[in-house]
Symmetry: D3
Subunit: 318 residues, 6 copies
């Protein structure tokens, strides 16, 4: 089976791909004609595609977030590859394809990631902090299994949120060993909670964010999770103004570090400082790793990466 | 009775003043001697004062936030007036002085301000919004009667918070009449709530903030009041993710307008835009009015005002 | 008659519209063919339109800022509606259409707005300030009747400048009542003058700015109106360095508040502070009201609004 | 005669110095005693001085901006030299001292500088531009002979404004030769006018700015000189909206380059670009030259220079 | 011979032009067809061009950076002129054309510029500084003869780097005469060295930068030339930590003035301050001169200039 | 023996302390009297001290960076403890004190830190990278044993530079294990080199920076170490423009991430991104740990920490 990341100019291809985006558009010929503007994806990357001469009868035959069988030709257009689709149809049981094989996903199985997070919750020694963390993980529900960590910034794929959390927990554990003055309970809980309201901030399926929710746009995931902590405290009969609740709220509210990055307060706690830099370190390195991974091996430079001061990254070859 | 704002160089004065600050310090003579470094205040302003040659026996005789009877001489020191205290003693019942006569306070009686706020809460037509606002006003409790609106920035006096709120409500009502497209319930509730968690953010007595609370420093009054709204909704059985709760949280979280001014989200609602600019208008104009009022009439320029891009204000004389 | 704001995809329409913009362009077919790229407008909004297969004989038959009779079909193109024009011709007397019915305009009649401004000028009690204000209003001339307040930022329609001024005057009067320490003469004059040189800064017809003037680009409306005040003082034999002239110049020069927003000096006068925030309040709320008004009722979010930190606005439905 | 720049610790000195600043202050001993806090100056620099034990009878015997005969001892205090004054008296005719010998002044005679400026005005070939420039130079009057270019930033000494102007004219002439596309009339007039309203912005005597004027604080020298140009045009019957008047206004308004540096418009004219960079070049290099000149020869680094990103300057020794 | 700067709409032209860029692209017709997307240039400017209906056999017949004989028709497309190419072929010996006649180049012969630079190197009196400057000029090699000073910002043409250097040297010499306190050796060497590593930072041919080099992107020309100075010192047996080497490194590292403009240190040397402002003055004025020169004479305004705060420049006509 | 961190108001103390700073100053009494202004230090912290009534004969008896025997009384002055010294004398062999017992130092022995760094150099597998790293470590020489990592920002104590480097190496090793796509050679070398030119940038003894060197101020440690790498390559016959040299230069030049923080280029390499965030993480957490450690246990908040957005840090007590 041909992976998108290996396609090259003029290659003719037949295979299964996820229809990640699907829009009916019109050419600017006279009279304009309908066509499909598609984004096809598999686990290795994505490619824009055009299906010209779309017939009225075909319009309803395909939907986005389906796996389709596609026959097409790859072409270089404005320096980027795109596919001219010749034939495309939705798959059925007879194709024997599994949706999750065709989406970009974290390199670790979702169930393992979620189990790791649960296990870290259980390892928190302070009862109140453990219970608040558990309450919030429960509130996130099964969305934690598949949500990405962001719309496009970083970890923008199936289970990206859980993967980001688990990798940060690994770094956090290392730092707690290296620096015993850190309060492990606070740091572990802070890492688990910091992005946990993202499922309330965004609407996502298959690791793909379609849009921000109204509540996400109007409140943001920092103040949302701070509200979850208040709710947890009330439900668990922990005073909402106790130091533990205060510290957890501070951890999540300050984790973007600066006001212009969305934090209403700045880190004023050892664990809050650690949380912010662990978050940056994991997010930035993942952006770099993913950008290098989705850039053809022979290319020395990746495309520009937004979250990296809009810089491209150089591939070391020694 | 002599007001502080009318004192002049070399004037000898006997009168009652609030001891706003009181510190035992030591001269840098050899050997160092103890003295009191004081800030004396009345309703017209404040003046620094020194009581030299403090005897060990006197040290415990006076406390801050008391009214004292003072005999002293005014002197010009480094371009500012200060008082050399000759005698000072705490007042007792025989002096027949009321503490509240000696502090800076809003120009409207505190009880009237609080009543006006309650009345505006009652005027909200939507039951959920009215109940949430009422819950939060109740939670602020009697601190609303005397809290200042800030430590020093603006309305930093007895009942300053209530006064700021009431004046903003007047502007808000005017705007709702001028622009019927505004949702009056949301705007009135937003104005009442926007600074209502300041009593949780700061510790104050007599309109004077002694310090920020731990919870105030770590969370800030924006996220605090957002948490109160969550609490209100839970207690009142209003879904925490309902549009009304979302809108109220958005109003308070966005009222500082920009991330660098402490808002994790920016105004995205007509009433949130109105709230921010009504808040600025009232706070800035009050700073100017108070600065002109506490600058001697013959002075053309006030001192620099921090909240006004650090500019002084010119007194128009025509 | 069909309003542009009510058009929908695939709708066939015949009606009168203002030709707001008109350009001859060429398709990128081989060989390229001429077509008209149009912007059609009425009082409810505007729509881009294409008239394909433009014949050489037709090229001179139509001009911009005319009302035309149009027959066309609405189409969705790149997520936005546009009109494919089938027939278009200029209107004549027989059509009995009035140009001003087809443009976006302030919701209050232009003559009433201008009369209100004149009346406020007359109400200024100080002779010098009143005469300077009157001189400048006279210099703006009849352009005050129809100029917009900006090219696109806010109040970008017929009589937008006068409307913005009148609404600000209403807020100003309210504040003078609420806060008697404000100098009403200075504030009323400042509001009237603050944008009054916009007609020298821009070239506009029918409320539509075609371009900035050379003088507008090189000097800007703040320094332009400051120069008008100097001119008024010289013509009226008021010393150019008198406090009243100084205060009026300061009001107009500082009304953008910060250097990076175009003010060479920052507000240092109670009335200058009031002027800036009244201006912001009116401009921002009008942007929001206009954005909500021109967004289809069923849409929850407006498009992004440039003057509002590039944020969209949420429509409250309760 | 001993120059201030050559004084050293513990040196006893008798000589004539300008009393640049003179304040009666009080020690913080008990009881406080009066003393004079002085700044003494000569052409080489300045030194703070204290005259302890000031007797009541002496208080009126001396004024600032007089030359005094002084006997004192130099002492190192907090890493800086200051003078302990033993005797001080104002000079009279018998001392045969000239005030101008004791102040910091431009290295070229004031009369020569002013003559050079007049000569450059005369060399402008365009009648309107020449007449406007001449009008403004006349309006500045004899203040041009002695005003500094700034309070402390650069050229803060007698005739500093004229010196700054003349040096910029030299660079301007060079650039006009090197780059014939530049309009010499506009550039020469722009240089002459750019800071010419500083005498209206500040109050100065002997090259020392005591304070900014009300008009200077409220309008600033950029908008002030722009107003002078309007006035000149009206008096000379040149249309105020003619391109020449527009260009001259643009040159002065844009010469600070950016909004945050006080320019309401940015340079949009070859000569405006040249003017800004010539101004920067001359001002910055003069700051460096003056800082090196007033730093003891054996010091490798000058103090920090505010106008130079707050950096100190290194003295090259090869 | 017709110059590109004089072409007008609908003009038919036959002439020689440099093929500055050449790409095979495809129309978005169905099926897509190949065409050449070209940029044609001569000494007067450049124009985009299309050669439709490119036949497979023609594809290899032409390369970029060749002079071609072209027959085409000029057309207005989206407000800009472009050329529809009818016939195009590479030139051969029989055409008798010289490549250098068809490129944009500095207005002074490259050989003269390089000779002027060598002569300035020789005029440096200090042996070490002269030798280091000579070493670096030698290392730049013959690239100094033809490199532009930037990709597009300023002096982006044949020998632009040498031209920029020579003009700055002229200003530098003038300033050394005007201000004898400047160290001429340091300033002359600083000017020669400041952009001398641009040939290592970019890949260019015929004055046209195709791309930045890997080393250029990863290190930048400031740190590159600083490294050349270290290399020169080592090769010439001058201690790398001597004041002269330090000063030369400081000059090149600080010449962008601020950290956000790429300088790791800020100017802290009289000559470094001079270098930065001479560089700005020459670069900005050249941008303006070139923008005016390449804008049609009848246009009052140039296009926006990136390096000039994105402002257009006004053409004075008096 | 009494540690400075345990001293309290009015305590009388006799002990050995390091004389960290020593200045002769004068009281502002009349006449002024000489006194010593001292900073005394031990491994637990430091305290300012005054020795009044310094006799001329005593002035030369003590020098800074000596251990002295001190008898004094602790006093609270302006809210901070200081010591009034009664007797002080330098120590001699008879006191049997070791200097290194009295200074603040990294918590790991200097020799162990240096050995760890050498061992990491040896573990680099690429010969060129290993040799360049070894060359630079050798060039830093024995200063690596005792230099602090900064003047006051972070790790400002004996062997702070080596300690910072070793802790970063630990985090770096962890990340290389967690993320195999990282090039360990580049990251390890980058960590070792990134601050290695600090000994050339500053002058320090006993972990205390007295001042920046001329070369440090004029070039900065980023461009300095970049120059060392060039020197290493030349001495080791590795081409200075090879990818390995380029990558090492890029790592050190970009490690401050942004231009305004001193990096002339931004990280464009996976390992450069990692290096910057590891550096921040270690430096910030060490600041927090050290601030908490030097704040009395009963205090909830540390003083404000400059490198932490000027925020204080809260001490968690659960």
């Amino acid at each position: 089976m041909t992976l998108i990341s290996t396609l090259s100019d003029k290659e003719e291809v037949t295979g299964y791909f996820l229809v990640k985006e699907l829009d009916v558009k019109q050419t600017n010929s006279t009279p304009p004609k309908d066509y499909w503007d598609l984004v096809l994806a598999d686990s290795s990357g994505q490619i824009t595609a055009k299906y010209w001469d779309l017939k009225p009868a075909e319009k309803e035959s395909l939907q986005s977030l389906q796996v389709a069988k596609v026959h097409g030709i790859v072409q270089l257009y404005r320096d980027r590859l795109q596919m001219k689709v010749i034939r495309i149809r939705p798959t059925g049981p007879e194709d024997d394809v599994r949706l999750t094989d065709y989406i970009r996903a974290a390199p670790v199985a979702s169930a393992d990631l979620v189990a790791a997070i649960h296990s870290k919750v259980d390892s928190i020694t302070d009862t109140d902090i453990r219970n608040i963390a558990a309450f919030c993980v429960l509130k996130a529900g099964d969305r934690l299994e598949h949500y990405p960590a962001a719309k496009s910034h970083h970890h923008a794929y199936y289970a990206g949120l859980a993967y980001h959390t688990v990798r940060m927990l690994e770094i956090g554990e290392f730092l707690c060993l290296q620096r015993p003055f850190l309060n492990r309970d606070a740091l572990i809980a802070g890492i688990i909670l910091h992005d946990l309201a993202k499922p309330e901030e965004m609407n996502a399926q298959l690791g793909i964010v379609s849009e921000y929710s109204d509540r996400g746009r109007l409140i943001g995931h920092l103040a949302l999770i701070s509200g979850w902590i208040v709710e947890a405290a009330l439900k668990l009969d922990i005073p909402t103004d106790s130091p533990k609740v205060t510290v957890l709220q501070h951890l999540v509210l300050s984790h973007h570090n600066l006001g212009e990055w969305g934090s209403p307060v700045q880190p004023q706690l050892a664990e809050a400082v650690a949380l912010h830099y662990i978050d940056s370190l994991d997010a930035k390195l993942q952006m770099v790793e993913d950008a290098l991974g989705s850039t053809a091996e022979q290319e020395t430079w990746t495309p520009m990466i937004r979250g990296l001061e809009n810089k491209a990254v150089y591939r070391t070859r020694f």
